[in-house]
Symmetry: C2
Subunit: 144 residues, 2 copies
DNA sequence: TTCAGTGCAAAGGATTTGCAACACC
DNA sequence: GGTGTTGCAAATCCTTTGCACTGAA
Protein backbone atom coordinates (compact mmCIF):
# COMPACT_ATOMS: atom_id res chain seq x y z
CA UNK A 1 0.00 0.00 0.00
CA UNK A 2 2.77 2.37 0.90
CA UNK A 3 4.49 1.21 -2.24
CA UNK A 4 1.33 1.91 -4.19
CA UNK A 5 1.28 5.42 -2.81
CA UNK A 6 4.90 5.96 -3.77
CA UNK A 7 4.20 4.68 -7.23
CA UNK A 8 1.12 6.83 -7.58
CA UNK A 9 3.06 9.86 -6.41
CA UNK A 10 5.73 9.20 -9.00
CA UNK A 11 3.13 8.90 -11.72
CA UNK A 12 1.51 12.17 -10.68
CA UNK A 13 4.77 14.07 -10.56
CA UNK A 14 5.81 12.77 -13.95
CA UNK A 15 2.63 14.22 -15.38
CA UNK A 16 2.64 17.51 -13.58
CA UNK A 17 -0.22 16.47 -11.32
CA UNK A 18 -0.48 16.93 -7.57
CA UNK A 19 -0.76 14.50 -4.72
CA UNK A 20 -3.72 15.97 -2.88
CA UNK A 21 -5.27 14.62 0.29
CA UNK A 22 -8.30 13.55 -1.72
CA UNK A 23 -6.14 11.47 -4.01
CA UNK A 24 -4.38 9.85 -1.08
CA UNK A 25 -7.67 9.08 0.64
CA UNK A 26 -9.18 7.60 -2.48
CA UNK A 27 -6.11 5.56 -3.31
CA UNK A 28 -6.14 3.97 0.12
CA UNK A 29 -9.84 3.33 -0.02
CA UNK A 30 -9.87 1.90 -3.51
CA UNK A 31 -7.03 -0.49 -2.78
CA UNK A 32 -9.33 -2.19 -0.29
CA UNK A 33 -12.15 -2.70 -2.79
CA UNK A 34 -12.94 -6.30 -3.66
CA UNK A 35 -13.90 -7.32 -7.16
CA UNK A 36 -15.70 -4.91 -9.47
CA UNK A 37 -16.81 -1.52 -8.30
CA UNK A 38 -18.32 1.64 -9.74
CA UNK A 39 -18.08 5.32 -8.86
CA UNK A 40 -21.11 4.97 -6.63
CA UNK A 41 -19.47 2.21 -4.61
CA UNK A 42 -16.46 4.42 -4.04
CA UNK A 43 -18.67 7.28 -2.96
CA UNK A 44 -20.63 5.10 -0.52
CA UNK A 45 -17.49 3.63 0.95
CA UNK A 46 -15.91 7.04 1.38
CA UNK A 47 -18.99 8.32 3.17
CA UNK A 48 -18.99 5.28 5.41
CA UNK A 49 -15.47 6.15 6.43
CA UNK A 50 -16.06 9.85 6.90
CA UNK A 51 -13.69 10.68 4.10
CA UNK A 52 -15.82 13.25 2.41
CA UNK A 53 -14.93 13.39 -1.26
CA UNK A 54 -17.32 14.72 -3.84
CA UNK A 55 -18.76 12.62 -6.62
CA UNK A 56 -17.10 14.86 -9.21
CA UNK A 57 -13.71 14.28 -7.67
CA UNK A 58 -14.20 10.55 -7.78
CA UNK A 59 -15.07 10.76 -11.46
CA UNK A 60 -11.96 12.84 -12.01
CA UNK A 61 -9.64 10.57 -10.09
CA UNK A 62 -10.66 7.19 -11.48
CA UNK A 63 -9.10 7.84 -14.91
CA UNK A 64 -5.90 8.98 -13.22
CA UNK A 65 -5.72 5.72 -11.29
CA UNK A 66 -6.25 3.85 -14.55
CA UNK A 67 -3.40 5.78 -16.15
CA UNK A 68 -1.22 4.94 -13.16
CA UNK A 69 -2.10 1.27 -13.70
CA UNK A 70 -3.50 0.90 -10.21
CA UNK A 71 -6.98 0.06 -11.38
CA UNK A 72 -8.36 -1.07 -14.70
CA UNK A 73 -11.64 -0.32 -16.36
CA UNK A 74 -13.64 -3.51 -16.56
CA UNK A 75 -15.49 -4.56 -19.66
CA UNK A 76 -18.33 -5.63 -17.42
CA UNK A 77 -20.92 -2.96 -16.89
CA UNK A 78 -23.63 -2.83 -14.31
CA UNK A 79 -26.76 -1.18 -15.70
CA UNK A 80 -25.02 1.45 -17.71
CA UNK A 81 -22.48 2.27 -15.06
CA UNK A 82 -18.74 1.87 -15.59
CA UNK A 83 -16.97 -0.66 -13.43
CA UNK A 84 -13.34 -0.92 -12.39
CA UNK A 85 -11.14 -3.38 -10.60
CA UNK A 86 -7.87 -3.08 -8.75
CA UNK A 87 -4.92 -4.41 -10.71
CA UNK A 88 -2.13 -3.19 -8.47
CA UNK A 89 -0.12 -6.16 -7.23
CA UNK A 90 -2.78 -8.59 -8.33
CA UNK A 91 -2.05 -11.53 -10.58
CA UNK A 92 -3.85 -11.26 -13.86
CA UNK A 93 -7.05 -13.25 -14.05
CA UNK A 94 -10.05 -13.74 -16.28
CA UNK A 95 -13.75 -14.12 -15.53
CA UNK A 96 -16.44 -16.74 -15.60
CA UNK A 97 -19.78 -15.01 -15.41
CA UNK A 98 -23.13 -16.64 -14.71
CA UNK A 99 -25.89 -15.13 -16.82
CA UNK A 100 -28.48 -16.28 -14.35
CA UNK A 101 -27.21 -15.32 -10.91
CA UNK A 102 -24.58 -12.82 -12.13
CA UNK A 103 -21.92 -14.46 -10.01
CA UNK A 104 -18.37 -13.74 -11.19
CA UNK A 105 -15.62 -16.30 -10.69
CA UNK A 106 -12.03 -15.28 -11.26
CA UNK A 107 -9.60 -17.77 -12.70
CA UNK A 108 -6.09 -17.88 -14.03
CA UNK A 109 -4.83 -20.12 -16.80
CA UNK A 110 -1.31 -20.10 -18.16
CA UNK A 111 -1.94 -22.13 -21.27
CA UNK A 112 -4.40 -19.53 -22.46
CA UNK A 113 -2.01 -16.72 -21.74
CA UNK A 114 0.58 -18.40 -23.92
CA UNK A 115 -1.88 -18.89 -26.74
CA UNK A 116 -2.91 -15.29 -26.56
CA UNK A 117 0.64 -14.13 -26.91
CA UNK A 118 1.05 -16.34 -29.96
CA UNK A 119 -2.01 -14.91 -31.60
CA UNK A 120 -0.87 -11.40 -30.90
CA UNK A 121 2.50 -12.18 -32.46
CA UNK A 122 0.88 -13.59 -35.53
CA UNK A 123 -0.89 -10.29 -36.13
CA UNK A 124 2.10 -8.15 -35.25
CA UNK A 125 0.61 -6.92 -31.98
CA UNK A 126 2.53 -6.20 -28.82
CA UNK A 127 0.13 -7.22 -26.10
CA UNK A 128 -0.52 -4.80 -23.32
CA UNK A 129 -3.37 -6.56 -21.60
CA UNK A 130 -6.26 -8.79 -22.38
CA UNK A 131 -9.68 -9.68 -21.18
CA UNK A 132 -11.45 -12.97 -21.40
CA UNK A 133 -14.94 -13.44 -20.19
CA UNK A 134 -16.64 -16.80 -20.31
CA UNK A 135 -20.37 -16.36 -20.02
CA UNK A 136 -22.68 -19.22 -19.15
CA UNK A 137 -24.61 -20.90 -16.38
CA UNK A 138 -22.97 -21.93 -13.15
CA UNK A 139 -23.45 -25.28 -11.44
CA UNK A 140 -26.31 -24.00 -9.32
CA UNK A 141 -28.14 -22.25 -12.12
CA UNK A 142 -27.88 -25.08 -14.61
CA UNK A 143 -30.78 -26.91 -12.98
CA UNK A 144 -33.13 -23.97 -12.81
CA UNK B 1 -31.35 -12.51 -45.30
CA UNK B 2 -34.71 -13.91 -46.14
CA UNK B 3 -33.91 -16.71 -43.79
CA UNK B 4 -33.05 -14.18 -41.13
CA UNK B 5 -36.43 -12.57 -41.61
CA UNK B 6 -38.19 -15.90 -41.35
CA UNK B 7 -36.27 -16.68 -38.22
CA UNK B 8 -37.01 -13.31 -36.73
CA UNK B 9 -40.69 -13.69 -37.57
CA UNK B 10 -40.76 -17.03 -35.82
CA UNK B 11 -39.10 -15.59 -32.75
CA UNK B 12 -41.60 -12.73 -32.63
CA UNK B 13 -44.62 -14.95 -33.00
CA UNK B 14 -43.38 -17.30 -30.32
CA UNK B 15 -43.27 -14.37 -27.94
CA UNK B 16 -46.54 -12.75 -28.88
CA UNK B 17 -44.77 -9.89 -30.65
CA UNK B 18 -45.61 -8.47 -34.05
CA UNK B 19 -43.66 -8.20 -37.26
CA UNK B 20 -44.06 -4.52 -38.01
CA UNK B 21 -42.68 -2.68 -41.01
CA UNK B 22 -40.24 -0.89 -38.72
CA UNK B 23 -38.89 -4.20 -37.48
CA UNK B 24 -38.49 -5.49 -41.01
CA UNK B 25 -36.73 -2.32 -42.13
CA UNK B 26 -34.38 -2.36 -39.19
CA UNK B 27 -33.61 -6.05 -39.53
CA UNK B 28 -32.60 -5.59 -43.14
CA UNK B 29 -30.57 -2.53 -42.38
CA UNK B 30 -28.78 -3.99 -39.38
CA UNK B 31 -27.80 -7.14 -41.24
CA UNK B 32 -25.71 -4.95 -43.52
CA UNK B 33 -23.80 -3.30 -40.66
CA UNK B 34 -20.10 -4.06 -40.50
CA UNK B 35 -18.30 -4.54 -37.21
CA UNK B 36 -19.49 -2.76 -34.10
CA UNK B 37 -22.31 -0.28 -34.17
CA UNK B 38 -24.41 1.74 -31.76
CA UNK B 39 -27.97 3.04 -31.79
CA UNK B 40 -26.78 6.27 -33.35
CA UNK B 41 -25.19 4.43 -36.27
CA UNK B 42 -28.44 2.64 -36.91
CA UNK B 43 -30.35 5.90 -36.82
CA UNK B 44 -27.92 7.61 -39.21
CA UNK B 45 -27.99 4.73 -41.61
CA UNK B 46 -31.78 4.59 -41.57
CA UNK B 47 -31.99 8.29 -42.31
CA UNK B 48 -29.52 7.91 -45.13
CA UNK B 49 -31.81 5.34 -46.64
CA UNK B 50 -35.01 7.28 -46.10
CA UNK B 51 -36.33 4.63 -43.76
CA UNK B 52 -37.63 6.90 -41.07
CA UNK B 53 -37.59 5.11 -37.75
CA UNK B 54 -37.52 6.97 -34.48
CA UNK B 55 -34.67 6.73 -32.04
CA UNK B 56 -37.00 5.30 -29.41
CA UNK B 57 -38.00 2.49 -31.72
CA UNK B 58 -34.39 1.62 -32.38
CA UNK B 59 -33.74 1.45 -28.67
CA UNK B 60 -36.78 -0.78 -28.32
CA UNK B 61 -35.87 -3.10 -31.15
CA UNK B 62 -32.21 -3.72 -30.42
CA UNK B 63 -32.94 -5.87 -27.34
CA UNK B 64 -35.45 -7.87 -29.35
CA UNK B 65 -32.81 -8.61 -31.98
CA UNK B 66 -30.46 -9.69 -29.22
CA UNK B 67 -33.12 -12.02 -27.85
CA UNK B 68 -33.61 -13.43 -31.33
CA UNK B 69 -29.85 -14.03 -31.47
CA UNK B 70 -29.42 -11.93 -34.59
CA UNK B 71 -27.16 -9.42 -32.93
CA UNK B 72 -25.14 -9.49 -29.75
CA UNK B 73 -24.30 -6.78 -27.31
CA UNK B 74 -20.60 -6.12 -27.45
CA UNK B 75 -18.51 -5.64 -24.35
CA UNK B 76 -16.68 -2.89 -26.14
CA UNK B 77 -18.08 0.52 -25.48
CA UNK B 78 -17.52 3.67 -27.37
CA UNK B 79 -17.63 6.67 -25.06
CA UNK B 80 -20.40 5.40 -22.86
CA UNK B 81 -22.59 4.19 -25.66
CA UNK B 82 -23.65 0.55 -26.04
CA UNK B 83 -22.34 -1.29 -29.06
CA UNK B 84 -23.66 -4.33 -30.86
CA UNK B 85 -22.51 -6.63 -33.60
CA UNK B 86 -24.30 -8.96 -35.97
CA UNK B 87 -23.96 -12.61 -35.03
CA UNK B 88 -26.47 -14.04 -37.47
CA UNK B 89 -24.69 -16.53 -39.72
CA UNK B 90 -21.31 -15.25 -38.65
CA UNK B 91 -18.63 -17.55 -37.27
CA UNK B 92 -17.65 -16.69 -33.75
CA UNK B 93 -14.56 -14.55 -33.48
CA UNK B 94 -12.55 -12.60 -30.95
CA UNK B 95 -10.87 -9.22 -31.11
CA UNK B 96 -7.42 -7.71 -31.25
CA UNK B 97 -7.68 -4.04 -30.39
CA UNK B 98 -5.00 -1.43 -30.89
CA UNK B 99 -4.89 1.07 -28.01
CA UNK B 100 -3.24 3.62 -30.20
CA UNK B 101 -5.21 3.72 -33.46
CA UNK B 102 -8.30 1.90 -32.10
CA UNK B 103 -8.25 -0.53 -35.00
CA UNK B 104 -10.12 -3.77 -34.30
CA UNK B 105 -8.98 -7.00 -35.93
CA UNK B 106 -11.24 -10.03 -35.76
CA UNK B 107 -9.70 -13.47 -35.47
CA UNK B 108 -10.77 -17.00 -34.85
CA UNK B 109 -8.80 -19.66 -33.00
CA UNK B 110 -10.00 -23.17 -32.32
CA UNK B 111 -7.39 -24.13 -29.77
CA UNK B 112 -8.53 -21.33 -27.54
CA UNK B 113 -12.15 -22.29 -27.89
CA UNK B 114 -11.28 -25.79 -26.71
CA UNK B 115 -9.37 -24.46 -23.73
CA UNK B 116 -12.23 -22.24 -22.80
CA UNK B 117 -14.62 -25.12 -22.78
CA UNK B 118 -12.27 -27.04 -20.50
CA UNK B 119 -12.05 -24.21 -18.06
CA UNK B 120 -15.80 -23.83 -18.01
CA UNK B 121 -16.17 -27.55 -17.32
CA UNK B 122 -13.72 -27.37 -14.48
CA UNK B 123 -15.86 -24.78 -12.76
CA UNK B 124 -19.15 -26.49 -13.57
CA UNK B 125 -20.24 -23.88 -16.09
CA UNK B 126 -22.17 -24.53 -19.24
CA UNK B 127 -20.77 -22.04 -21.68
CA UNK B 128 -23.18 -19.86 -23.56
CA UNK B 129 -20.76 -17.48 -25.18
CA UNK B 130 -17.47 -15.84 -24.50
CA UNK B 131 -15.51 -12.75 -25.27
CA UNK B 132 -11.81 -12.39 -25.62
CA UNK B 133 -10.17 -9.08 -26.29
CA UNK B 134 -6.45 -8.77 -26.74
CA UNK B 135 -5.42 -5.18 -26.27
CA UNK B 136 -2.08 -3.87 -27.43
CA UNK B 137 -0.28 -1.99 -30.15
CA UNK B 138 -0.54 -2.99 -33.77
CA UNK B 139 2.37 -3.28 -36.17
CA UNK B 140 1.96 0.30 -37.37
CA UNK B 141 1.60 1.84 -33.93
CA UNK B 142 4.49 -0.04 -32.34
CA UNK B 143 7.00 2.37 -33.85
CA UNK B 144 5.24 5.56 -32.83
C1' DT C 1 -61.49 -5.48 -32.72
C1' DT C 2 -57.75 -5.81 -29.82
C1' DC C 3 -53.50 -5.14 -27.97
C1' DA C 4 -48.64 -4.57 -29.25
C1' DG C 5 -45.83 -0.98 -31.44
C1' DT C 6 -44.71 3.73 -32.75
C1' DG C 7 -43.30 8.71 -32.39
C1' DC C 8 -42.79 12.39 -29.56
C1' DA C 9 -41.21 14.78 -25.87
C1' DA C 10 -40.31 14.56 -21.15
C1' DA C 11 -37.88 11.95 -17.59
C1' DG C 12 -33.92 9.43 -15.77
C1' DG C 13 -29.33 8.13 -14.63
C1' DA C 14 -24.45 8.33 -15.27
C1' DT C 15 -20.80 11.30 -16.27
C1' DT C 16 -18.76 15.85 -17.47
C1' DT C 17 -17.94 20.64 -17.02
C1' DG C 18 -17.76 25.88 -15.70
C1' DC C 19 -16.53 28.48 -12.06
C1' DA C 20 -14.96 30.46 -7.74
C1' DA C 21 -12.54 29.12 -3.76
C1' DC C 22 -8.66 26.35 -2.27
C1' DA C 23 -4.11 24.17 -1.45
C1' DC C 24 -0.05 21.65 -3.37
C1' DC C 25 4.63 22.47 -4.97
C1' DG D 1 2.51 32.78 -5.90
C1' DG D 2 1.04 30.23 -9.61
C1' DT D 3 -1.38 26.49 -11.31
C1' DG D 4 -3.53 22.15 -10.63
C1' DT D 5 -7.78 20.64 -7.70
C1' DT D 6 -11.98 20.63 -5.46
C1' DG D 7 -17.09 21.04 -4.61
C1' DC D 8 -21.18 22.50 -6.28
C1' DA D 9 -24.66 22.84 -9.47
C1' DA D 10 -25.81 23.09 -14.07
C1' DA D 11 -25.17 20.87 -18.36
C1' DT D 12 -24.64 16.81 -21.40
C1' DC D 13 -25.08 12.41 -23.20
C1' DC D 14 -27.23 8.03 -23.71
C1' DT D 15 -31.26 5.50 -22.75
C1' DT D 16 -35.93 4.78 -20.97
C1' DT D 17 -40.73 5.88 -20.40
C1' DG D 18 -45.72 7.87 -20.48
C1' DC D 19 -49.14 8.71 -23.53
C1' DA D 20 -52.20 9.10 -27.38
C1' DC D 21 -52.41 7.20 -31.80
C1' DT D 22 -51.65 3.57 -35.25
C1' DG D 23 -51.66 -0.87 -37.37
C1' DA D 24 -50.71 -6.10 -37.37
C1' DA D 25 -53.19 -10.29 -36.52
Amino acid sequence: MNLALKNFGRHLKKNGLRLTVERQKLLGLILTMKGHFGSEDVLKKSEGKNLSVSRATIYRILPVLVEAKIIQQSLLTSEGQSLFEVTWKKAHHDHLICISCKKVIEFQDNAIEVFQREIANKYGFILERHVMELVGRCRECRMV
